[in-house]
């Protein structure tokens, strides 16, 4: 069985800055894989490079065993969709929810829009009452649901999630995380999820990769992280940091 998503020796260079330095990654079909690290560690860049939003200077990316070229075709974008961090910035402010969801269907020449939009909204728990609203009429959590509906409407097999809940309140975060798990179980999706929050990653993912300065520090199972069987100091530091503040006396 070939990996749903395989990355080998990937380099991303912006001007002279190497944002990613030879990153390797293999995600199996149906797996949920997490990426953690501090800002500037290259975790979002890795996601963007896979989606074709950042230029790969070296290395290969393959989806379901098929290697990707520089230009991605439409079939690729039907398979892989992305949800961004900021639900306030990732929805067009002058388009209604209906128009936002119509766009991917129009691009891919998929008919039956009526039914698909109603179904997609239902699936993310919004209902048709939200269909003709504008993004500014929605809360952060509702916007993120629309962004998830937009990603799901093409029925992709892989979802790239770039900090999908870090802009949301804790209570709303729980709702969105539950929704993501639900759709993953229902559709057998593969997740590649970026977060700076170790608790969120261990909750959502089976395996994870820790990144620092554009390099992979270590890959481990979420269960090992929970039982603190980590090999690298940096991972241990992240773990301590997520325990909260400890007053040194």
């Amino acid at each position: 069985m070939s990996a749903a998503l395989a990355v080998q020796g990937l380099d991303v260079v912006f001007d002279r800055f190497r944002a990613l330095k030879g990153v390797n990654l293999a995600v199996q079909p149906g797996e949920s894989f997490g990426l953690v690290g501090e800002s500037g560690s290259g975790k979002s860049t890795l996601l963007r490079a896979i989606a074709g939003l950042a230029p790969a200077a070296a290395g290969t990316i393959s989806i379901n065993g098929k290697q990707l070229g520089h230009r991605r075709d439409k079939a690729f974008y039907r398979q892989i969709q992305m949800v961004f961090q900021d639900p306030y910035g990732s929805l067009h402010p002058r388009q209604t929810v209906d128009r936002l969801l119509q766009e991917p269907l129009a691009i891919h020449g998929i008919g039956d829009g009526e039914r698909r939009i109603a179904q997609a909204l239902d699936e993310v728990g919004l209902g048709s009452g939200f269909r003709f609203r504008y993004p500014h009429q929605l809360s952060g959590g509702q916007r993120q649901r629309v962004a998830i509906a937009r990603a799901l409407i093409l029925e992709p097999s892989i979802l790239l999630l770039d900090e999908p809940t870090s802009a949301l309140d804790a209570s709303v975060q729980a709702e969105v995380l539950n929704l993501l798990e639900e759709v993953r179980n229902a559709r057998g999706l593969t997740f590649l999820m970026v977060s700076h929050d170790l608790a969120v990653i261990t909750h959502m993912c089976g395996r994870l990769m820790v990144m620092q300065d554009g390099e992979a520090v270590e890959q481990l199972a979420a269960a090992d992280l929970v039982s603190r069987k980590v090999a690298q100091d940096y991972t241990r530091r992240l773990l301590t940091a997520s325990d909260g503040f400890v007053r040194s006396l």
Partner: protein
């Protein structure tokens, strides 16, 4: 460590109202608490009025909004009836505020050093040379390794963690008695977050300041503060000792604690907060 006998700040029935086209919106609806020389956490979701509470104390409420209170007093000075000159002298002098994101709250066209010196010279009569000395000392106190270099840098030339330290330095240079920190570490990485908190913690306990720590992160607040005020829809729903957070009574506080994923607890799906209309009543 905390001395509650000397009350620094009294807030009673604080209300902040914003006029809108569809009528007045009350962002803060009758908040009361008092603060000694201790660390008080104010927690709540976005829109719960926690930031507006901090801003009202600081005197930074937008001009169209209306602030009212039965009593809003800092060290016996009634803030609402105080003339603007008194409030200006307090603001930045005896009451200081750290804002969330150093990227937006530092002046982008002024060097970090000049901004710190400006704060100091606004509130104290000191010579330029002495102000520079004290700014450098303050930068060193917030554990910036090379104060001389950072003094001459512009905000865009430093990292987020460094910028936030510079802001703490700027806020503490006039030696305030009350520090309001509005999400001071939310824009920072987890590892840097703890460094900044440690600096803040040390300075607060060393100088015997009162601290109001505004945050959405209940876990962080409970590990950092002495006391926690939980806000919902502009009201205080619960006040409790940080160490007794797990004994919280109010269903909102409990729900908020419960819905966060924790390392090592396997709960699928996560419990979701069921909001009740009577909480906001």
């Amino acid at each position: 460590m905390s001395d509650k006998a000397s009350t620094l700040l009294e807030v009673e029935d604080l209300r902040v109202t914003f006029p809108t086209r569809t009528g007045a919106v009350e962002a803060v609806r009758g908040v009361s608490f008092s603060l000694g020389r201790e660390r008080l956490g104010v927690v709540g979701e976005s829109g719960s009025g926690k930031s507006q509470t901090g801003r009202a104390i600081m005197g930074l409420t937008p001009p169209q909004a209306e602030v009212s209170a039965k009593r809003l007093a800092f060290d016996g000075i009634d803030l609402l009836s105080a003339p603007p000159a008194t409030r200006r002298a307090l603001r930045g002098g005896r009451i200081a505020m750290i804002l969330q994101d150093p990227k937006y709250s530092l002046d982008p066209v002024m060097t970090i050093g000049r901004q710190i010196v400006e704060t100091l010279r606004t509130h104290e009569k000191v010579s330029k040379a002495e102000a520079r000395e004290r700014a450098l000392d303050m930068l060193a106190a917030v554990q910036i390794r090379d104060p001389g270099r950072v003094f001459d840098l512009h905000p865009h030339e430093v990292s987020g963690g460094m910028g936030q330290r510079a802001m703490i330095a700027m806020m503490l240079i006039a030696d305030p008695e009350l520090l309001i920190a509005d999400e001071p570490t939310s824009a920072l990485d987890v590892t840097v977050q703890l460094d900044v908190l440690a600096i803040l913690d040390e300075l607060v306990s060393e100088r015997g300041m009162g601290l109001i720590f505004i945050s959405h992160d209940l876990r962080l607040v409970s590990s950092f503060c002495d006391r926690v005020v939980v806000m919902y829809a502009g009201k205080v729903v619960e006040q409790l000792k940080a160490s007794e957070l797990h004994k919280a009574q109010h269903p909102y506080t409990r729900g908020l604690l419960d819905c966060m994923p924790r390392i090592g607890s396997d709960r699928h799906p996560l419990p979701v907060l069921q909001r009740k209309a009577e909480w906001a009543a």
